[in-house]
């Protein structure tokens, strides 16, 4: 612990000096704004957390770019997802970030506000018309575009078709009440009807409970409101009916996937990136549906997931090369189709959507959800990590029965109040 902090602090000092140097170099010259033609020979450094089929896809595309641009080498650094943010902060304070930087979309405003990213319009021209407005906004900070979206994802309801048939459920639930009834029907012995990831840490409890909360008009910052309490009540009903195991509070998204694959959970919440693995699971017949809402007239509002690529400040030559790669990778229908098909994402580039969704039918549901999805930092900005963690704790204490709904909501409201003040 102490050591990690020591490194961080040391690098903070380096950062102050590096920032000064960067300031100087940023003023010396603007990169070539043409945007056409091959990239100049040299190395482009890049960093991301893509694994499995996403890793193979991006490696393949980078090779293609190297072949097309003689003398250009892409040096890709992979950092595991859980350590990624720490690594970015560490490299940023040390002034040693890669030229092309992948960021999970909620992080973009924070990183852009520190001034270490280059506004894309200063590097060349991009064709921005084909992008969905919401997706493009993920790359914007104070009106300037700093990053392009890789594609979008969100989470939906996965259900086990065999178990649905066995207990005579004809279609996936559309409302919370139906979900509760179906989950009860599906619960037998060691098989639970429903499960979601309510574990601690980012990407688990808050991310997975947001679709329920937001569709019902609730907010992370108002746990004491009626809409928020209704959401907590729903989770409690699932537990009280024994249709969802209390141990979901220890489950990560990966754990939920494992339980579903092994048939121990009949319905789960998860993202499109797992379909490739589910398709390889023997004897598993599954379907994907939109996450149920409380009352039929509500619209599903899931959290918007997906990564963006930004260019960091360095020498004009480095920035220009990185821009060429970004332009080719994400501002070009052909490569976007290949990329998002391999990634299992809904393209943010509208003209690529049909081709990608056609190849992976499951994406249709996610594509529909993305239209009403909300970016996670919309209301909370830089406070999102802290406030979402407090909401997550409230959900966990209700599921484990440590606190009543009103006690958990009141306690969370107090913590949020002092965190926002």
């Amino acid at each position: 612990m102490a050591k990690i902090r020591q490194i961080l602090m040391l690098s903070t000092i380096t950062c102050v000096m590096a920032a000064g140097i960067q300031q100087a170099s940023a003023n010396t010259g603007k990169a070539d704004a043409s945007g056409k033609g091959a990239a100049t020979p040299g190395t482009i450094t890049e960093m991301d957390y893509f694994t499995a089929n996403q890793d193979t896809t991006i490696t393949k595309l980078f090779k293609t770019f190297e072949q097309k641009n003689h003398g250009v080498k892409i040096s890709r650094v992979y950092v595991a997802g859980q350590a990624y943010l720490q690594k970015v902060l560490q490299e940023a304070t040390a002034g040693s970030l890669p030229n092309l930087l992948m960021l999970d979309n909620p992080m973009l405003p924070d990183i852009a506000s520190t001034g270490i990213l280059v506004p894309l319009n200063t590097l060349g021209t991009l064709n921005l018309k084909p992008y969905f407005k919401g997706s493009l906004s993920e790359g914007k900070y104070k009106g300037k575009l700093y990053a392009l979206p890789v594609g979008n994802n969100t989470i939906a309801l996965y259900y086990n078709k065999k178990l649905f048939k066995k207990y005579k459920i004809s279609s996936p639930p559309k409302t919370w009440a139906q979900l509760l009834v179906d989950a009860k029907k599906l619960t037998h012995g060691s098989v639970y009807g429903f499960g979601f990831s309510a574990g601690s840490g980012s990407g688990n409890v808050s991310w997975q409970s947001e679709p329920f909360l937001w569709s019902n008009g609730g907010h992370l910052r108002t746990p004491n409101s009626a809409s928020d309490k209704q959401t907590l009540t729903f989770f409690k009903q699932l537990v009280d009916a024994h249709a969802m195991p209390q141990s979901v509070v220890n489950w990560t998204q990966q754990d939920v996937q494992n339980e579903f694959e092994q048939g121990r959970v009949a319905m789960m919440i998860n993202g499109p990136w797992i379909t490739a693995q589910l398709n390889q699971t023997k004897g598993l017949d599954y379907g994907v549906a939109e996450i149920p809402v409380r009352v039929p007239k509500q619209k599903i509002v899931p959290p918007l997931g997906g990564e963006v690529f930004a260019i960091t400040k360095s020498t004009p030559a480095n920035e220009e090369r990185a821009f060429k790669l970004l332009q080719w990778l994400l501002n070009n229908q052909n490569t976007v189709q290949q990329l998002d098909t391999g990634f299992g994402y809904v393209p943010a580039y509208s003209s690529a959507v049909n081709a990608v969704v056609k190849k992976d039918g499951y994406l249709k549901v996610f594509a529909a959800e993305v239209h009403t999805a909300r970016a996670r930092t919309t209301y909370l900005g830089a406070k999102y990590p802290q406030i979402s963690a407090i909401w997550g704790s409230a959900v966990q204490s209700v599921i484990t029965g440590q606190a009543s709904i009103s006690a958990a909501a009141t306690a969370a409201q107090q913590q949020i109040h002092s965190a926002l003040s």
Binding site: A389, S393, S418
Partner: protein
Amino acid sequence: MFLIPLGVYILVLFGYPLYYSVSMSFKNLNQITLINGNANFVGFQNYIQAWSSSIIWRSFLNTIQFTVVSIIMQFVIGLLVALLFNRRFPLNRVLRSLILVPWLIPQIVSGAIFNWMFSSTNGVVNQILLDLHIVSTPVNWLLHPESALIVMMITNIWIGVPFNMVLLYSGLQDIPREIYEAAAIDGARGVRSFFYVTLPNLKVIIGIVLMLGLIYTLKVFDIVMSLTQGGPANMTQLLSSWSYTLSFTNLNFGQGAAVANGLIVISLVFTAIYLWINRKTAD
């Protein structure tokens, strides 16, 4: 005399990072100010906010419970095992090496193994308890704060026993046989020789073992992360893991440092008490 290396040890491993940690805790360091270097001095704000939350007191009590139980159990079991190995019997040397294994395995791996053993759905511990008809339904070990804390302590004790055993064993080996023989002539055998000969001669070693055990246990972090991640609802956080969560999940580096510094103060207090007791007994 033996305090000098210990003093240097504490100074190097606690003193140097302490300076950085203290300076961080007085600034409004978050993900943004960390990068652009615009962190302002905010006085004691981080300390006030961090130490007035309800989670911190839960973590504090957890840390005390975890540390006290772990150290006592590690020491008692470690001493019993050391006494066993102090006797001559076949395979003594082989078994003594084998018992070191838990201490050599990275804590994160031990944590993962115990997580699997205590899993509520398919853990081996529940299986055994069910087969022996001790429980009728699987126990949700990691779900309730009380039982999760017990699992954390069992894991930590399992890891710490070899360390205690090795140091105490070397201490036992250093006690001259003549003392036992002389004591035997004076009528001290068995349990009495343990209390009148062994323990007084082990005093110095026991002091070191308990002190190092305290420092190691206060720093325990991997076990929490691999077993519960501090959850559910932050009820199984230790000060170490809560400091980490504040820094790297909530990205509030200033408050994270404020908690970590509290932990260091606790360590220093115990070190001071230890030094004081030691000086008194040495006089």
